[in-house]
Symmetry: C2
DNA sequence: GGCTTACGATACGAGACCGTCTCGTATTGA
DNA sequence: TCAATACGAGACGGTCTCGTATCGTAAGCC
């Protein structure tokens, strides 16, 4: 069920390949890559999930339909492999502070959001994947769940260290931290994402709050502040 | 272009109705309501945008296809009217403080998120509306733009009053405030939304920040702050 | 060379949907 | 009464897609 017992095995490669060495003409690796490339190109062109037909993919790849059906039993299986292939590994954690890890995580989201294929998948996933349970499951298992677990882990570390408020729900803490970047990467087309400093701004804004108050210096190089806590 | 010159006129009602009093049998209001109800029912059942065919709508409504085509020229026009009909008016602003307005705005989002039709539209909008420019435009003009403008207006009021940090981008401020609720209403199926106190928690968490620090009394009874604006 | 399999291309049947049109019937105004 | 329009139902031609099958050809193993 969970991704614990299925440790994200690569799972790549179309079905039926590891068996006995085939006898006749071997399958063309080039054709396979052309198929993947065609799907990704169509995604980046903004093709809707319903317009993404096998025939269109075959035409775009310069490949016969049979070459696709020889590898995947149907469109859903192909897309499952495409989704599984696309995700880059999560960023390594274990930075000096939990704040560094948070910034890394948000920056990972930012970089993913800059990739059109990635955005395409998220948006298609939201509206259309109800009809495609296997694809939805794979997407959730390989993309959604690992990301959420990563953020939760960092947040719990911050809470345990007494550096994040313990009076708030962990879910709410996570949402406060990644909400802004997810909005920009998923919901809004025109949102700017290029600034590499954006994740730091977002994380520090979430940590310090956006309400005006006697300015508190940003967290890292705490300089001596004359008046900080009027009450303990 | 903008919604300024088109002040959100009701725009309801299928085409061709305001002319001379028709001669023959008048159009059935019941059929019209049945069509709208059928679309909304299919939305709530999770039907994907691509499975939402005219024939299915007609069958669900117990109506002939011609009765639909007599009112709308195609599926897109029908859905435009459905979307336009669905939105409830934005909450009134002008609460005692900008914080009250923020909570009202977030609570509006929360209540919208509890309505399955509303979620369906948002999700479908994200992935599929590229192919349907008129529908996308209507949705943006009647839903997205007014909401964003409402939040921006509140935020600007807070900034002008010196109660929101002026060193952050207005867009970022908005995202910090409505990010968490939009995540729960749009992206995550299983997120709890029932708690009516949720908007207050979210707004106050955004204002005060989620970093642990010497507790600061909640915002409302703003203590007299000696130094506010160092720069205009 | 012969066997086997993959290749691109394309024909095929099945089925969903679109938008139009035609039934027979119902409901209005003139 | 009668013309006009709407109604539900569904046939119709057209388009699109799916998944299978069949070409002639290409590329490996024996």
């Amino acid at each position: 069920m969970t991704s614990a017992d299925t440790p994200l095995k690569p799972c790549h490669g179309p079905a039926g390949e590891q068996d006995a060495p085939r006898r006749g003409r071997p399958r063309s690796e080039a054709a396979e890559q052309a198929i993947y490339a065609a799907v990704e190109k169509l995604m980046e062109d903004g093709t809707g999930l319903s317009e993404l037909s096998i025939e269109r993919i075959a035409a775009e790849a310069g490949v016969g339909k049979a070459t696709i059906y020889r590898r995947w039993p149907n469109k859903e299986a192909l897309l499952v492999d495409v989704v599984a292939r696309l995700e880059e590994p999560l960023p390594p954690l274990g930075g000096p502070t939990y704040r560094d890890d948070l910034i890394s995580a948000v920056d990972y989201m930012r970089r993913r959001g800059l990739i059109k294929r990635s955005r395409w998948i998220v948006r298609s996933a939201l509206g259309q994947m109800n009809a495609w349970p296997e694809l939805k499951h794979t997407y959730h298992e390989r993309v959604v769940h690992p990301r959420r677990e990563m953020v939760r882990q960092i947040v719990r570390r911050g809470v345990a260290a007494g550096e994040l408020r313990a009076d708030l729900d962990v879910e709410l803490l996570c949402e406060m931290l990644i909400g802004p970047i997810l909005l920009r990467t998923v919901l809004w087309d025109d949102a700017p994402l290029e600034d590499p400093d954006l994740p730091r701004q977002m994380v520090d804004a979430a940590l310090q709050g956006i309400g005006a108050r006697p300015p508190v210096p940003p967290v890292p190089p705490v300089p001596p502040v004359p008046r900080v806590s009027s009450a303990s």
